[in-house]
Amino acid sequence: MDRVPILKIGEILLVSIQIDMEDQVALQLQEDLADRIVATGTHGVVIDISALDIVDSFVGRTLATIASISRVLDAETVVVGMRPAVAITLVELGLQLPGIRTALNVELGIELLDREHLGEPDQEDVVIEP
């Protein structure tokens, strides 16, 4: 089975999905990523989906789950590079991807993480959920 590689670049983890993922591969990525977040103690994950020509509800749900798991592990996830045709299709499909932050490309994604989390540690984290 193929595996999606996870790269550590500076303070963040970069995942670039380059293959048409089987469902199992997506689930494996979810596990691998949780492990790597804990192992590296990172606060930011960038997932590049610019090579994906479709995102169906399964992949969408996996991305949302990854974002939630990361948040529990104190890491912010940004999904970058979604193609226009994919975005239009997701809107039609009715998939909202709540809780997922997005940016147009890897560079803007890293910028977003820098601005929101890595730059000013811990202050923003004092949010008491009901």
């Binding site: 048409d20 479709i54 169906d56 509800s57 399964f58 969408g60 239009i88 039609e92 499909l93 998939l95």
Partner: protein, 134 residues
């Protein structure tokens, strides 16, 4: 004009990927616009996964179709699974008996031009979708 149909047996995850690739190739061949290709492949992915997960496997048949005024692609997803008892409920956004987001059926229907479903409890499910070239 009706070309030869391509048939894929759906028994595993890999087969769902093969369905996506076949639909993509056929859609490119039929000169669907990029957005329409993406919509059709996404719908096929949803429905092929349903065939696998809820129907316990089955077949997906992809064929190019044409009538006097337009041409397009027709895909038939058939399984011999338990069938769907309450169609109205199955088409409700967010409803799922499995672990998905509950967007498969209702979402896929919004992504194609024609959507027909033939099902009854114990008789399996057959879904036919068509996307026309603009």
């Amino acid at each position: 004009m009706s070309d030869e149909a391509d048939v894929i047996e759906v028994r595993s995850d890999q087969d769902v990927v093969r369905v996506r690739q076949l639909v993509r190739t056929t859609a490119v061949g039929a000169k669907l616009s990029l957005v329409d290709q993406t919509k059709l492949v996404t719908a096929a992915s949803e429905l092929a996964r349903n065939t696998l997960v809820y129907g316990g496997g089955g077949t997906v048949e992809v064929v190019r179709v044409a009538n006097d005024v337009r041409h397009g692609i027709r895909i038939v997803f058939a399984d011999r699974g338990p069938g769907i008892a309450d169609l109205e409920l199955a088409f409700t956004d967010g409803y799922t008996t499995g672990s998905g987001l509950g967007l498969g059926l209702s979402g896929a229907r919004r992504l194609v031009d024609e959507f027909e479903i033939d099902t009854a409890p114990g008789r399996g499910t057959s879904i036919t979708v068509t996307k026309w070239c603009r």
